[in-house]
Symmetry: C2
Subunit: 388 residues, 2 copies
Amino acid sequence: MSGTFVIAQGGGPTAVINQTMVGAALEIRKRHPGAKVLGSIHGVRGIRDGNYADLSSIPEDRLRLIAATPSAALGSTRDKPDAAYCEIILNGLKKAGADAFIYIGGNDTSGTQQILTDAAGGKMAFVHAPKTIDNDLEENDHTPGFISAAEFVAGAFLSVDLDFRALPGIYVGIVMGRHAGFLTAAAAAWQLDPDSGPHLVYVPERPFSAAAFIDDVRATLDRHKRCIVAVSEGVSTADGKALVESLVPPEKLERDAHGNVKLSGSDLPAALERALAEGLPGKRARVDALGYMPRGYVGAISAVDAQEAFDAGAFAVKVAEEGGGSVALQYDGKKTVLKKVPLKNVAGKTRHMPDDFMKPGVNQLSEAGMTYLRRLVPEKYKVGKPFV
Amino acid sequence: MSGTFVIAQGGGPTAVINQTMVGAALEIRKRHPGAKVLGSIHGVRGIRDGNYADLSSIPEDRLRLIAATPSAALGSTRDKPDAAYCEIILNGLKKAGADAFIYIGGNDTSGTQQILTDAAGGKMAFVHAPKTIDNDLEENDHTPGFISAAEFVAGAFLSVDLDFRALPGIYVGIVMGRHAGFLTAAAAAWQLDPDSGPHLVYVPERPFSAAAFIDDVRATLDRHKRCIVAVSEGVSTADGKALVESLVPPEKLERDAHGNVKLSGSDLPAALERALAEGLPGKRARVDALGYMPRGYVGAISAVDAQEAFDAGAFAVKVAEEGGGSVALQYDGKKTVLKKVPLKNVAGKTRHMPDDFMKPGVNQLSEAGMTYLRRLVPEKYKVGKPFV
């Protein structure tokens, strides 16, 4: 395998996806001197269009600087190739003379690699290297990108809780995540003490009721004089509809090319603001979406996450040498270990947050959930307890 | 002046307002051993209600930990006392046996100190110590709290620009600030190169036109394939109305106790999203409010800002000894220097961003604006230029 390696980045960027790309590129350069390393521009679109950055020739110090830079330096894509599109990709890879294709992304990306593996019939190695702030890949204890995103979210809620101690009111922070609640749960990682926010955490794994939400907020205000809430943008009502569908008039709902309701944007914050204004009139309430900050804020890159992402990229080269598969970050009880797992175990599947990570019947993290978070997102900043 | 000092914190919290409080408390303890140092809880409300934390007796290491903690540890208030309320405060201060009152806040806070000075007739020293992320105090080159907030905003826009290189589209980030554009302008501080966002910056000092905004965004998309926009929540249309008033139906507008239109919340993001969807149909567009993050994100506290805020608190004690006044951070051409200035020079006034900080006729920072930002918010993170 001294020939040609293609690397691409797919889906939403993360703070450390470039570590994985550079980890793979440098490992190829080390283990396969003389090999061509092509970085496909904008995910599989670059393969389709023959548009590559030559990663073989770029000085290592420039690559290492890019590794430390958030977001996907090769560009990314939301394309989810079907069989026909995969045929085009396969032809593109053949044209480039590729022996292996390492695609860094989430469960859609591993799905693409599964289709390509089946179509290529063993003539090329297809590797999926994990990446997602959602932390929702099967076979993984956690995924590269999650820890940095979780640190941002934990820091955001610690900061907002301190802010609302000074000027009390209701704060609702909306966190990215369509199906898995891990990132929203991370809001609780750095709670100062039992009086600290987030006092309420709503994850997609549990049905959301607007009436119960108002009751929860009211009870929290009575107890803590303020109420800090973390809501996943993917929360659904008991009928399985996304919350935004229940709160926003149908003619105003936006849908993407796949028919999925658009969760981002200001519809959900506006709807929750209205619900709070009606349910708790006269109370100071602020609803913000954390937006894109968790997935790539330059000031919240975890060193552990960066190293794990780099190592996952390097490990992907070994998986390519062995014929392909998916790289998984597993936990052996003491440390994170890298494993090769079959693509089909990850492809198109969603790992949900275990039910016992939340207290039964209460929208708060359980001890099991906090143990997981404390291991991955240990306290990073020393803060003093305010007088209020 | 060996007697009693009262310290309070007013207005919106910042990342370093506790530095100023602790700087003052420790300086009093050093220069006036045996003096009582009372921290009023929730600004002037604590004086009204006789509610204090005893800052004389708290171990220095706990105070230093609080200093490094964002938000106002004594609690804050939005109360803007009139003459009658000031009479109540004055009586409260007399009851506490206060010789001096150091109030940390913005221009409203210095206004309160001005009224109290006039009412007390020289029997007590009233000091205003500056604090505001808006950077809008007269007599100051910049204000404690601004640099940390500006670093967060600069980092946020650097990060979002990298994100939108990977997945192109339109991004609008709404930044706090009713009257002064400094913090929104800080979005440009860490631009990587002339191709980098924010490509458009809208500040309250310049009239905003929704039609021109759409034209600007369209032209930027043509040139850069993406468009990153920073908008101050305080931008106004040519008729002097807040933008949110022009875009939101009157019956939906929220106003505060002072009759000011509520700028925060999701009305403005929702309205800008609608304007983009109508003006540039089919384009991917995301509008987010940065919300509370700039004023107290635990991961974006500037060491320079922290030190200056601490020093301003210590200097406030000297100003108290001299009979009162306002502490100002000025620039002598080489470094920041602390000066005592009359309260009336600051009280109730708003410093706007100089007109020449923006290019004429273009919504971008000028060289003069960039020079100011680069001095206060120098590059903090090394990032590599992406391939896209």
